[in-house]
């Protein structure tokens, strides 16, 4: 599986195109302002790549990845903000954050090694809720719902970075993480993860220690999620309130992984672009285009009759909610998950080799996608064989 020079050229061109967005925006005033939301895309790409290691490679579904991002944001905030005694620099705080994230990953991973499949998903969900509540309730340390601010902006060689600088820095970090994830996937560790996803028992027989490998996957996922949280906190100069790291964010990250292509690094990058682009570019821009509309006065509705009443009723309803595209956000996420699961479980850009490696061709969610399943595939098979 050597990388062809053609592929390298395409990748370099894509990177150059994405990197040139802030420059183009500066000189060609189209009034689109997409470099700001694009910075979000990079952060979510890091989050998605982290989740992909746990859910895509290792086959453990995590519904609480936002909690790790929250831990990252708060560790970063506490170690840098001027109201706390630590006041580390940007990069050392980032290092500390990733270490803390890994530790949190171990803390969740260790007791949950014996929990499988959908139960594990629910444990991670519960963990996410607990972290959020604890952050709100320990307000003497975390400032509760106010969040911690101000935080120092990202720096590079002692220079504080502004909008475009942050754009390029975050893009570089996301690329670094993507390349790292790709090499991890091909390494001994990554192949171990994938073998656990495909068949834990067989991989144990081949000398892989599933417990160690799973713990490592948890720690890596948590560490990258914490990095994403810290980067956002630094960019917004605030940890944000704990409510920002809720279940929705975990699901957005899951959508990114599933829509792009579960287990596929390129897929996750595309997924981040599609889902975050939908969430914070397309829906927001559409809402701006529609402009604010006034609700029809209810009095008109009270006096109308028959068809006119029905028309007014629907019109008022549309003006109340339907007309604002941001109100369709959950529907977009939900449909993305359901339709992908039914029609294209392997994602837009499937992981390579997913078709050939599929343990059972007729399993519906074949290959790597069936791999979200890990034990699921084999358990279905045995269930039918059971006398």
């Amino acid at each position: 599986m050597a990388i062809s020079s053609k592929r390298i050229t395409i990748n370099l061109l894509l990177i150059a195109a994405v990197a040139s967005i802030p420059i183009i925006e500066k000189f060609v005033p189209l009034g689109l302002h997409i470099s700001d939301p694009m910075t979000d895309v990079f952060v979510y790409a890091i989050l998605g790549l982290g989740l992909n290691i746990l859910t895509g490679f290792t086959g453990l579904l995590n519904l609480g990845v936002a909690a790790f991002a929250a831990i990252g944001a708060y560790v970063f905030a506490i170690s840098t903000c001027e109201i706390y005694p630590f006041q580390l620099g940007f990069w050392s705080a980032l290092g500390l954050t990733m270490a803390a994230g890994a530790l949190a990953g171990f803390a969740l991973g260790a007791p949950t090694l014996r929990v499988r499949g959908d139960y594990l998903a629910i444990v991670t969900l519960g963990f996410g809720e607990i972290v959020k509540d604890v952050l709100v309730n320990m307000d003497s340390i975390t400032k509760g719902t106010q969040g911690i601010n101000p935080l120092p902006p990202p720096t590079l060689f002692g220079h504080e970075l502004g909008g475009s600088g942050q754009y390029w820095l975050f893009m570089a970090i996301a690329l670094l993480v993507a390349v790292g994830a790709r090499s991890l996937e091909r390494s001994r560790i990554g192949r171990g993860w994938i073998s656990i996803r495909e068949d834990e028992l067989a991989s144990r027989a081949m000398g892989i220690r599933p417990d160690h490998a799973k713990m490592l996957a948890f720690a890596t996922c948590a560490s990258l999620a914490a990095l994403a949280g810290a980067l956002t906190a630094s960019r917004l100069s605030s940890s944000g309130e704990p409510g920002n790291y809720d279940f929705q964010i975990s699901i957005l990250a899951l959508c990114i992984v599933i829509v792009g292509g579960i287990g596929s690094v390129r897929g996750v990058l595309l997924g981040a672009l599609v889902m975050v682009g939908m969430n914070s570019i397309v829906l927001v821009k559409l809402t701006e285009l529609m402009g604010g509309s006034d609700s029809a006065p209810p009095a008109a509705l009270a006096e109308a009759h028959g068809l006119q009443w029905a028309f007014l009723f629907v019109k008022t309803w549309a003006q109340n909610v339907l007309i604002s595209p941001t109100n369709w956000k959950f529907l977009v996420f939900g449909l993305a998950l359901v339709l992908m699961m039914i029609f294209r479980p392997e994602g837009i850009l499937p992981a390579r080799g997913s078709k050939e490696d599929a343990p059972d061709g007729d399993e519906g969610a074949g290959g790597v996608a069936g791999g979200v399943t890990g034990g699921g595939v084999s358990s279905v098979a045995t269930k039918e064989l059971r006398p």
């Binding site: 579904l61 706390y84 005694p85 630590f86 006041q87 007791p111 014996r114 499988r116 959908d118 139960y119 998903a121 629910i122 444990v123 519960g126 963990f127 809720e129 607990i130 509540d133 604890v134 309730n137 320990m138 003497s140 340390i141 699901i251 899951l254 609700s295 209810p298 509705l301 009723f313 008022t316 309803w317 109340n320 909610v321 339907l322 109100n327 369709w328 956000k329 959950f330 529907l331 996420f333 939900g334 998950l337 359901v338 699961m341 039914i342 479980p345 399993e363 519906g364 969610a365 996608a369 069936g370 979200v372 399943t373 890990g374 034990g375 699921g376 595939v377 045995t382 039918e384 059971r386």
Partner: protein, 348 residues
Amino acid sequence: MQQTVAAAEFLAACALSRVDAVGGFARDGLLSSQEVFTQQLVTGLSNGMIIALIAIGYTMVYGIIELINFAHGDLCMLGAYFALTVVGALGVDQWAGTGGIMGLVLVLVGTAAFCGSLNWSINRLAYRPLRKASKLSLLVSAIGASFILVNLGLFWGGLPMDVFADGTSSAAPKAFPALVSAAPAAQIGDVIYSRTDLLVLCVTLPLMVALTYLVRFTKLGKAMRAVAQNPTGASLMGIDVERVIGASFFIGGSLGGFATVVYSLYNQTVSFQMGYRMGMDAFIAAVLGGIGNLPGAVLGGILIGVIRSMSDGYLEARWTNTVVFGILILILVFRPSGLLGAKLREKV
């Protein structure tokens, strides 16, 4: 050096603030009287019965197709919106005497039918195409369905009706009219049993009895138990497995519909985000009792209701969710079969 000392002081302060909080809990606990305890118990039991009814919906579906039906709580949320719409269309003023009771029964049955049909349709559209896929694909699909229902709730809240406050802020919580007054029905000592507490009992208990009868003694119930045990075997015996699964979804959904009306009457406020909380409580109850086990779901529901209420009263309300989710994690890690569930061997 100075920085190190400051850092150490900060960490010490963190540790102390924890101790302080715990001390506070204990103090409040000691000051409380027996009446407060009983009152919290009554509230907890009422909420617990409602949670139990929703938990039955989770446990039935899990027992049959091993799916955590993530959309169940949001289904109940839509049920509450449906009930609110019906109440608004019928007019809120005429709820007294026999007419009031008739109206209440109408709302209950209508909402149950609505939730049952909706749950049946969700199964048909989002789960049935994935019958051969893995458990986790099914779970992801259920999460997707849950998000779709939440969005429908957001749309629904924007209807220009009086009961939805003309729909001008669709995301805001809506007040559910107090059709059954919370006036005391009985008072023993200082403990008040309100009319809503009575309503909860009058609705939930007969339904649980009816469900037990259905599952134990009818042909459909026998088919459901057979499919839960072994779908392939059941279909070889001539049972239409898909029909039985659909029926389970309908029954589970309609129980959720009854529960959500009672919940709305009891708590008197509904919002498009309430499904997540309701669903989580009920799911935790189902797991606590032993998922797939009907009496377990009822026991778990009552326990979760009481634990929530005690935690509200004796700890602080803001820690209640942490307590409940902590219980969930502890059970899943240390006794995944729950209190009443049979020990399951891991299939390899």
